[in-house]
Amino acid sequence: MKKFRLIIILCLCSLFLVGNVQKRVIDDVNIATGFGINKSNGQLQGSIMIPVFKADKSIGNFTFSAKGKIPRDLVSEMQKTASQPIVAGALDIAFFGEDLAREGIIQVLDVFLRDPTIGARLNLAVVDGDVNDIFKGNYGDRGNHEYLRQLLEQNMKVHNLPLTNLHFFLADFYEEGKDAYLPVLKKTKNDLVNITGIALFKDEKLVDILHENKMFYFKLLVDKHTQGSVMVKEKHGDASVKSITSKHKIKLLNRNPYKFGVHLKLKGYLTEHQGGNLKKSEVEDLEKQLEKQIVEECTTMIEDFQKKEIDPVGFGHFAQSRTRNFDFNKWQERYKSAQFKITAEVDIVQIGVIK
């Protein structure tokens, strides 16, 4: 019995000792929610956005900025001006300036990979314009980071932006035969930020920006279940179709030379029709027209990717998964001469509550 008492006393004593680790009380730290980085004149320029919780329950913003040689250096520079430690546990958004993205963002990604406190759901984007400026706008009472995060997330969920975050970017980046992509943002007014396209990467470097008009077709090609909306130009009048679900199915039709069949299946509903009364045959015409539009747009887009030697759809990865002893060195050459046969199947299941 005496021994047990001794053990219990020892346990209690050690409880006090083990509490002796670094504490991070939420009121006493600067919670970094946004991180922006760009390169100018050979130096990295970074800023970190911190929410400021005000008495009237609205959320203000504070931005730390610094210059340095490597990304971590920036943070320690910022730390010098901060009254409380900056912690990265709640980092939601990370923006790259276009100049830095064109030079390659691998050194920043290394920080994100190495730091265990950074989550895989971090939203990444490329910024057209000044990165520091985008944090300094005034986007409502919920705080700037909340606006920017929701802007990206809701567009991915119900609109034309394909799914991207740190996990997807790294998965595409490290996957052989697939290239990564990120959304492009531009600050248009003091209180609004616009999604202006998709940045296409070759390895860690940005090589091209896809125009926002093509985002819907791009999303059809890269995402599994797609929501989004598209305008259909048709002789009875322009119409707008919102997709409910979509599927893409890739088939390897031939190996020498490579020929891929891409079948896109789309279920959607009509949200707008300029032609007034809608007859049954017109819906079918509309479906046909949209099918034609999808095939045309996707074909030109893929041919464009081939010319630029990028593969965001992952045809290389697909070919590898269907071929034993696949050789990626040869693939680079053969991708250029690969052929694509794109077919589409559109089914408009709803036309709304009026005829």
Partner: protein
């Protein structure tokens, strides 16, 4: 000769044997086995896991045969086969093996806490508390150790649900084409997988504590199947979630998969997972302390309570010296090589030796 017979009231039910073995198997290996696995056989390595899992069944069958032949534990089998002096020196080696086992578990846990949560955690203080808990459990006898094994598996089992979320983000075409690697590469991966399965050897030591050993066989094999299934499922999820290049770079892929989990009440799931892992590691530490002290008691006729305190002190001193990735790797290496030798070489040889000796004696 004392065969280490055990009083009826200190024995455990047959099905509890499975919990002890599975609890001993699940440990640090689950967090990091994917990266050694993927080096050779890439995305086909799940086949190697199943194959290695099957060899474990054979070894466990041999272990049961050994214990049945001598009607006692491995310590008696050694003495029976090799004589008192050589047999007992063999037995002494088991004390060191289980000290190493305890060290890899405790050292690994401390390393993870220091990397992922608290950089400035004091390993001596944490180790001391953890080992005190281990000593306390061993003081309760083997029934308490088995009980902790049960709790250490059942309570954190909800963590399995958390892997459904990375499943959603996975790309299963990563697993194609199946069998894209040479048989040699598959064998190499299978060899690397051996270390993650280690721990079932504990059966050789607690066999006399099972009430109806015959009935426990069924449960132990079911438990081993469960371990194989979990390892395979987790490997498939990891291969789908990570591209190979990224998986080879991660030190703890399982923990990294939790980075994608975000629940309304907890932003970062790893913290919950690591905290739970402290409970999963508890049976490993308690069982290895129990086993090391049990061997000391049987071989040197020491008081088990005194032995466990001495062994825990030795563990604590070594743990405080293990403060870098290199030393941890060295320890893991030693542990896995010794474990491999015991499981795949020593056990079958011991069995063959016993068979021959029995034959000679009956003639």
């Amino acid at each position: 000769m004392l065969q280490g017979s055990v009083q009826e009231r200190m024995k455990i039910s047959p099905y509890m044997a499975a919990y002890v073995i599975v609890a001993m198997q699940t440990g640090m290996g689950v967090l990091s086995y994917q990266q050694v696995l993927v080096k050779d056989a890439g995305h086909d390595a799940w086949i190697s896991i199943i194959a290695t899992g099957l060899t474990v069944h054979i070894l466990v069958w041999i272990m049961y045969r050994i214990c049945e032949t001598v009607e006692g534990d491995v310590l008696y089998a050694n003495v029976y086969l090799f004589g008192k002096i050589i047999g007992n020196s063999f037995n002494t080696l088991f004390i060191f093996y289980y000290i190493i086992y305890c060290l890899t578990s405790l050292g690994g846990l401390i390393e993870i806490i220091r990397t992922w949560m608290f950089n400035d955690l004091n390993p001596i203080v944490f180790g001391a508390i953890y080992l005190l808990l281990g000593i306390y459990i061993v003081f309760g006898g083997f029934r308490t150790v088995a009980g902790i094994s049960f709790l250490g598996l059942v309570i954190p089992s909800y963590l399995m649900l958390s892997f459904l979320i990375p499943l959603k983000y996975g790309d299963f075409s990563n697993l194609l084409p199946v069998l894209d690697h040479t048989p040699m590469e598959l064998v190499k991966s299978g060899y690397n997988m051996i270390f993650s399965f280690l721990g079932y050897g504990i059966l050789l030591f607690f066999y006399p504590f099972i009430k109806k050993p015959q009935q426990s066989k069924k449960w132990v094999h079911i438990g081993l199947l469960g371990t194989t299934f979990i390892y395979t499922a987790l490997a498939i999820i990891s291969f789908a979630y990570f591209p190979e290049g990224l998986l080879a770079r991660s030190i703890w892929p399982t923990l990294e998969m939790w980075k994608i989990v975000r629940l309304p009440f907890i932003e970062r799931f790893e913290y919950l997972g690591i905290a739970n892992w402290a409970l999963i590691m508890l049976p490993n530490v308690a069982i290895s302390l129990w086993c090391a002290s049990r061997v000391a008691k049987r071989v040197y006729h020491l008081n088990q309570r005194k032995a466990v305190i001495v062994i825990a002190c030795v563990c604590l001193i070594i743990v405080s010296l293990l403060q870098s990735r290199d030393r941890m790797n060295l320890l893991f290496e030693v542990h896995s090589k010794v474990g491999l030798a015991i499981a795949y070489f020593y056990t079958p040889i011991l069995y063959l030796g016993l068979l021959i000796k029995k034959k000679v004696k009956t003639k």
